[in-house]
Structure formats: structure tokens, C-alpha cells
């Protein structure tokens, strides 16, 4: 009897709770779910951005264009006179046909993304939208390296500002400055430092040390672009990482260290057996924050590289703004959404961040 009364009371409370939650739900519906649904819907159409033409439903066409790829073997070039495989005289290697002759052209033209060797044969990976495939790779490389470096450096910084020293408060405030600068502003600053002439800081310094002739082109040389952009992000978000880890460090009770000291554990031992395990939840949260953030990276890429190299988000921007393909851009948005969703799930599983 008592139990039933309880549940009735609980029901009442539940009803009240639902009533109280309705405003939040409505707001969520309007500002999050509605636009998301709109993007999903648009991704199945060929809508033009800021156009007045008719929009048609095209099904999965946009997704197919973005994700379709093919792998083809490149046949070696056969010399017509001798009937033998042609060998490059300078390098002594076999000459293969160019990807353009091998990749499929119907129904859509495939363009080469990457060629690789496997057991003496040469293969090419083709895609309909190679820029998108490259953008995905760029974003993942950017995310892995920047988050990794930020975590290591951030931990170092957090440990330093967590220890007792004179002017610690000041140090903690100063540490946050790069993070407080608006990304576009800091990216522009770095752009000046990366100038391809001696007017740029890095070229000037490298030149002083006798490396190069003062014209390293950090932002246009394909092999320097990614390191440059990762450096900017590391500089900017290490403080954020340090801040999150510092909060974690402060939660570790001092007694544990005192006990370890009494037991004669070295500082290094203390770090690995006390600090790291107890810091794990904070590291997990920080990692999730930063990874999901860098997967959406837009501003550094847009300012520093524009159309020279894309991240997923900046490619999305140019598809929308420059090519005016709103349907295609929406499909990219959906793919980014799904990708980030899976990353988040994987993180939660791997790091054991559960509700319990």
C-alpha cells in the first residue's frame, strides 16, 4: 500500500518534471534539432546557395559523390618496339601509366588521391571528390598530432604551475594569454611570422642560424603546411589543456604524496603511480574536448591556407560559399557530424567515461 502511494507521488513529480522541462525541449528543438533536420533534408537535394532556381530531390547522390572511391592497378608501360616493359633510364624503375588513363570516367570521373606500391605493382586510389578525401585526412592528421602534443605540453605546464613558487598566480594568468586571443587574430599573427621572406620572424631566425636562404614558404610548401598549422594550434590551445589538467591536479589529495614520501618513493615513481592514475578522468575529459574541437577545425585553416589545403570544415565552407552547392555542403556537414559522433563514442568506450 505504502509502495503504491510512493509511486503515485513519484508520478506526480515526474509530471511536474516534464512540465518544467518543456521550455528547454522547445528551445532545443528550435535551435538544435530543427537546423540539424534541415541540414539532413538539404543533403538529399541539389539546392543552390543564394540561388532562385528549383531544387530537386537527388537521393544519395551527394553522398555518393563524396565517398565513392576506386582502387586500380596501374599497368606498366610496354615499349611498342621491343614488347618489353619500359624502364626509366635515370632511376632504373619501371614506368607505369598515368592514373588519368586508368581511373574510371563513367558515370563520374575519378581523380587520383594517392598512389602506392604493393609487391612490385603500382596501385592508385581514385575518388570523385579527392579534395574531400584529402580534407578528411588533413583533419585527422591535424587532430592526432595537435591533441597529442598539446596534452604532453599541457601536462608539463600544469605540473609547473601546480608546484609552489613565487609569482605562481601571475604565471597562471600569463599562461592563459594565447588561449584568450581570438583564433582569427592569432592565425593572422602567425601568418606574418610565417612570411616567406626575411620579413617573417621564422625566416629571419632560420637565416640567422644559417639554415636556408630566408625564403621558406611555410604556408605554400605542401610538406610544411601541416607542421605550420599544427604549431599554431598547439601554441593556442596548450593553455586550455593545461587549465583542465591543473584542475585535475588540484583534486589529488596532498596526503598521498606525503605518505609516498615517507615510504621512500621517488618523485618519478610518485608521478607514475599517484599523479597519472588519479589524473586520468581529467585527461579523458580534456582529450574529448580537444579532439572533438579539432575535428571541427575551421578558422586556422581558413585564415592560413584558404583554398591551398582544406580541413573538413573549411572544405565545407568553400563548397557552400564558392561553389554554391548547398546540397553537397549539407552532405559534408552530415558526414562530419557522424564522424565526430563515432569519435565521441569510441573515446567514451576506450577511456571508460561512463555514467557510473
Amino acid at each position: 500500500m505504502a509502495k503504491k502511494a510512493m509511486s503515485e507521488l513519484a508520478k506526480e513529480e515526474q509530471k511536474l518534471a516534464i512540465k518544467l522541462l518543456i521550455p528547454t525541449f522547445i528551445i532545443l528543438l528550435v535551435i538544435a534539432l530543427y537546423p540539424l533536420g534541415q541540414v539532413f533534408y538539404t543533403s538529399f537535394t541539389n539546392r543552390t546557395f543564394a540561388g532562385t532556381g528549383t531544387t530537386e530531390f537527388v537521393g544519395l547522390d551527394n553522398y555518393q559523390k563524396l565517398l565513392a572511391f576506386s582502387i586500380e592497378e596501374l599497368p606498366p608501360v610496354v615499349d611498342e618496339e621491343t614488347g618489353k616493359v619500359k624502364i626509366d633510364e635515370e632511376t632504373g624503375e619501371k614506368v607505369f601509366q598515368s592514373p588519368i588513363q586508368v581511373l574510371p570516367r563513367q558515370p563520374e570521373l575519378h581523380r587520383p588521391v594517392y598512389t602506392f606500391n604493393f609487391f612490385g605493382s603500382k596501385y592508385v586510389v581514385g575518388a570523385v571528390t579527392p579534395d574531400f578525401i584529402r580534407a578528411v585526412f588533413n583533419t585527422i592528421i591535424f587532430t592526432v598530432f595537435s591533441v597529442l602534443i598539446e596534452t604532453i605540453l599541457g601536462l608539463g605546464v600544469a605540473l609547473v604551475v601546480n608546484s609552489e613558487f613565487k609569482g605562481r598566480g601571475m604565471m597562471r594568468a600569463v599562461m592563459l594569454v594565447p588561449w584568450a586571443v581570438i583564433t582569427v587574430v592569432s592565425a593572422k599573427m602567425w601568418q606574418w611570422m610565417f612570411q616567406p621572406t626575411r620579413a617573417g620572424l621564422f625566416n629571419m631566425l632560420l637565416d640567422k642560424f644559417g639554415i636556408g636562404t630566408g625564403n621558406f614558404s611555410f604556408l605554400t610548401n605542401p610538406s610544411l603546411q601541416m607542421p605550420a598549422i599544427i604549431a599554431v594550434d598547439v601554441w593556442k590551445t596548450t593553455p586550455f589543456m593545461a587549465l583542465l589538467l591543473l584542475a585535475g591536479l588540484q583534486l589529488i589529495p596532498q596526503e598521498l604524496y606525503e605518505a609516498a614520501e615517507v615510504d621512500g618513493a621517488s618523485k618519478i615513481r610518485q608521478f607514475f603511480t599517484i599523479t597519472l592514475p588519479l589524473l586520468k578522468p581529467s585527461v579523458a575529459v580534456a582529450l574529448i574536448f580537444r579532439t572533438l574541437d579539432s575535428l571541427r577545425v575551421f578558422d586556422v585553416f581558413q585564415v592560413l591556407l584558404a583554398q591551398k589545403r582544406y580541413s573538413m570544415a573549411s572544405f565545407n565552407y568553400f563548397q557552400l560559399i564558392s561553389a554554391r552547392q548547398m546540397g553537397m555542403a549539407s552532405a559534408i556537414g552530415v558526414i562530419i557530424f557522424i564522424l565526430i559522433f563515432f569519435f565521441a563514442l569510441a573515446y567514451m568506450k576506450a577511456l571508460g567515461v561512463d555514467t557510473e
Binding site: F49, A50, G51, T52, S98, I100, R105, E108, L109, R111, Q195, P196, T197, R198, A199, T213, G214, N215, F216, S217, L219, T220, N221, P222, A306, Q307, K308, Y317, I321, S322, A323, R324
Partner: protein, 431 residues
Amino acid sequence: MRKYLLLVLALVLVVSFTAVGFAQDKTEITVAAGSVGKELELTQKAAQMYMEENPDVKVNVLSTPDLANDRLGLYLQFLEAKSPKVDVYQVDVIWPGDLAQHFIDLNEYGAEKVADNHFQEIVQNNTVNGRLVAIPWFTDAGLLYYRTDLLEKYDRKVPETWSELQETAKYIMEEERAAGNPDFYGYVWQGNAYEGLTCDALEWVFSNGGGTIVSPDKKITINNEKAIEAIDMAAGWVGDISPTGVTGMGEEDARKMWEAGNALFMRNWPYAYTLGNADTSQIKGKFDVAPLPAGDSGSSAATLGGWNLSVSKYSEHPEAAADFALFLASEKVQKMRAIEGSFNPTIKSLYQDEEVLEAVPFFGKLYEVFTNAVARPSTATAPKYNQASEIFFQGVHSVLTGESDATTAVQYMELDLKDLLGYETGEPRQP
């Protein structure tokens, strides 16, 4: 205390309402304008002139991004939202075809009377289905800037072909470096992956007899020997007579290097002339302009640029906005802009105006260059010009940075353009 608080609140309310009331008395219009070099300053000045003549109108000048592609992105966001926030847009010569449906027909607002005074090619370009969607404001053509003092010092003449330019640039660059300026380069231009590269590369290709990417009769013509040769030639400059960083340079980057005295030649638009002669410039009075060098075709080519003014269909005050746009494009303002900013007028008679010619002598000398400039294929590819141009500049950029060779790049350009436009291939148009 409470009473006072209420009183203060009431006062604040009354004051703010009257402020709104006053503001509504004036018609407020906003012009989205460029800010490359002196542009913004001159637009603000023109707005001031207009406001003095029309005290009941308030004009706001909205500064927009330097790179044309970024500017278009911003405009599209306003237009997609049908926003009345911007009334007058400064639009590139390649956009009227793509954006026509968002703009009013200026002929209905009195442009008919003045249209005949402007260059007819541009008026034609801006007329879409019989509607004049943009009034010409200033025209542009690519020019070769050269250092008179250095050519004289080393006894060289102004290059007339690309190979002469290459040879002269290399020689003087090496001499100047040996003389103590290690940062000196022969030639700077616009090599970043953006619309500006389409302009530069079109000049190399067209002057070499390689056509105009897509010909006016809707044939794809880019895949040819002459085009490959021209793109290869430019790729050879990178890291040689041009800095490796040229593949990241826009107009302003090139101009800054030029004005610091670190380049012998520069390809740029006319606006750099006045700025180069400003007091802050290291090369004031030490340079002049000439037509760009010629390639195999034997004639020089300059890409037609220039900007126009359009009035948004979503404007709340189309009449005031159209009146202001026509004022900006009027002889009076164009003359002021020509004298103070070396912006090329689109009004023919101003090229005979003595004050204009005194301030910018090359307007008279290079009149032919401006009237014979080669247009980008924006009409033949409308409304997909932006995508077509992107295919072109990305392809050229990949050759400049060494990621691809020119032969493959033009093959892909051809295939991509076929995909995009569905046109046949054809023979390149000759100058």
C-alpha cells in the same frame, strides 16, 4: 530610493524611444565596399560628398574582405537571407551573370540616361536579359610595373616578351643581390590559389596563344600545347626570379614587397600606381607601367577586371540606394577616384580629362590596354563561373607548387570542365 529608480528608468525609456524616432527620420543606406589599398578611404569620402548634397540620407560604408572569393562568400550570405542590411553592393565584373536575380534593374531608376557614357563592353557585361543589374564603377587591367631606376642603371629596356622579362629579371636580380640586397627578386605577381591567379594565368596562357580556358562560343579550349608551355614557364619562375612564397601572394602581398623596393617587376592592377608614389613607398617616382609582355602569339594580354555597383532587390530604400549608386558611378566621383587613387574610370570622356591625365599619365598612354583587355570566361560559363575558375586556378596552383605537371593538370582541367559544363572541346581563341 525606489521612486528615483523608477523615474530614472522612465527617463531612459523616453530618451531611447525619441532616439529611435529621430533615427527614423533619416533614410539609412549601407554600401558594401572593398578595402584594398585606398579603396575604403575613397568610398567613405564619396559617401561624405553624397551626404552633404543629400542631408536626409545617411550612408554607412561596410568594409568587406580583400580576396574576391571571400567577398563573394559574404555577399551570398546576405543574399541567401534576403537581408535588407546591405543596399548597395560592389560587385566584380565576373559576378553579374551569377547574381543577377538578386539585383534591381538600374535602368528603371534612371541609369538609362548615363549608361551611354560608360565603356560599352562593361555595360554589355552587366546587362542580363535586358536588365542593367550593375552600373560600371571602375575598370581594371593587369599591368607590368617596372623600376625605371634599375633598368637604367643596368642599361636594359622594358621587356616586350616573357623571355625578355625572365632574362632581364634574372640578370638584375643577381646583380642587385651581389650589390648587397639579398632579399631582392625579379618578378612578383599573384600566385595564391584564388581568383587572382585565374587572372594572372589567363594572361600567360592567352598571350601565348593558348586561348581563354573556355571560348566565348562555349568550347573548352584549355588542353593545348601553348597553354602547357605558358603554365610551365610560370612554374619555372617560382623559386627563381620570383620568391617561392609567390604561390601564397595576393595583390597586397605583391604590392608590399614591391613598395619595399624588393622587386624589379610586378604584375598588378592600376590601383598600385598612386600607392607606389605615396610618401610611405620606398620607390616613389622610381617606377612606371607598361603593357604585360607578349608570348608566342606576339601580342600582350591583360585580364579585364573592375568593379560595378548593384542595388539589392531586398533593400528597403531602393530609390535612395539606386540614386547613391549612380552618384558613386558619376563623372564627379570617378574623376576624384581616378586622381586620388588611380582607379580607372569607366566613363570614356575622363580619359581625355587634363586633370586626370596629369595625375595618372599612363591612363592616356595605355588606353588601348584597357579597351582591349581579355575577359575571363564568365559569360560562357555562367552561372558556374566560380566553379570553373576554381578548377583552373587549383590546377595551375598545383603546377606552381610542383605537386603536378602542367600536362596532367590541363588534362584534368579539361575533364573537370567537361563534367561541370557539359561543353565540347575546341580550338583556342587567338588574340
